[in-house]
Symmetry: C2
Subunit: 160 residues, 2 copies
């Protein structure tokens, strides 16, 4: 394993570990339990999970891995705050979307070399990328890994 391969594989592993932690925390919760607030007056568990699914779904086009699978989740979980949409997907539906989106991402990650990761993501212009080569796909992976961890820390606070 070259240093280049080692650092890339370590980052994909860090992503995967956070996905697995989130899966363990959210998968299998009942629809009722999903409505628990993480703290008084704060987001509900269902919002955090749906939010993670929507953000990860948006990574597909951002990383050049294909079209979005579930843009219909944005209104409830991304563009709006919790409780702005009354009709939410069931826990079982969210679990299916979560698995589908993360499976698709991980398959794409497996095909990326360090040179692929160092390429620009799709939202930055060629000029802006030339000025700042750290606006690359790898930075997206790392920032979304931190993003999962951020909300995992919150979800862990939900009263039992």
């Amino acid at each position: 394993m070259t240093p280049e391969q080692s650092v890339v594989a370590s980052a994909v592993q860090a992503w995967t570990m956070n996905i697995e932690r989130a899966d363990k925390l959210f998968s299998g919760l009942s629809d009722e339990r999903m409505l628990t607030e993480i703290a008084p007056g704060k987001n509900r568990l269902v919002y955090l999970w749906g939010h993670l699914v929507a953000v990860h779904d948006a990574m597909l086009p951002l990383l050049g891995l294909g079209e979005r699978l579930h843009p219909e989740l944005d209104a409830a979980f991304l563009t709006g705050a919790d409780r702005t949409v009354a009709n939410l997907p069931s826990a079982a539906e969210l679990k299916r979307h979560w698995d589908e989106v993360n499976r698709r991402l991980l398959a794409g990650f497996g095909g990326f070399t360090a040179a692929d990761w160092a390429q620009k993501h799709t939202v930055v212009s060629a000029e802006d990328f030339a000025a700042n080569p750290l606006r690359n796909r790898f930075a997206v992976l790392l920032s979304r890994t931190s993003h999962v961890a951020y909300h995992l820390g919150q979800a862990a606070l939900a009263p039992k």
Copy 2:
């Protein structure tokens, strides 16, 4: 910039961004404000910040960057839960330790190439590292970056 340099610089940038967010959130809080619980019955802000300082301090020997600077923080912030030690450092003291530890880490990171990051960290044995080359310094950087994000998500919930 080679792909190898780009991915390494992106990871150091992701670390730095999380450090800056934590600095913005914790620095300048009064000693009284530091005693706010992030949610009813949960850790106080002072514990989260001291915990981050202690965990980052322990990264120095783990990454081969020198001895620990503040092992005296462990009893209050690492080995014990919140409220097990009554006499805590002031917010101003924690800020000094935080700056000192993170400055030392960042100086070390600046000298690491991808080959340095791909080396084993100091706690894994040569045999275990041969069996799993992802037990490297880069994995430590990424896991501690997620760790900051995890507690940042919690600290952001503290009632204003």
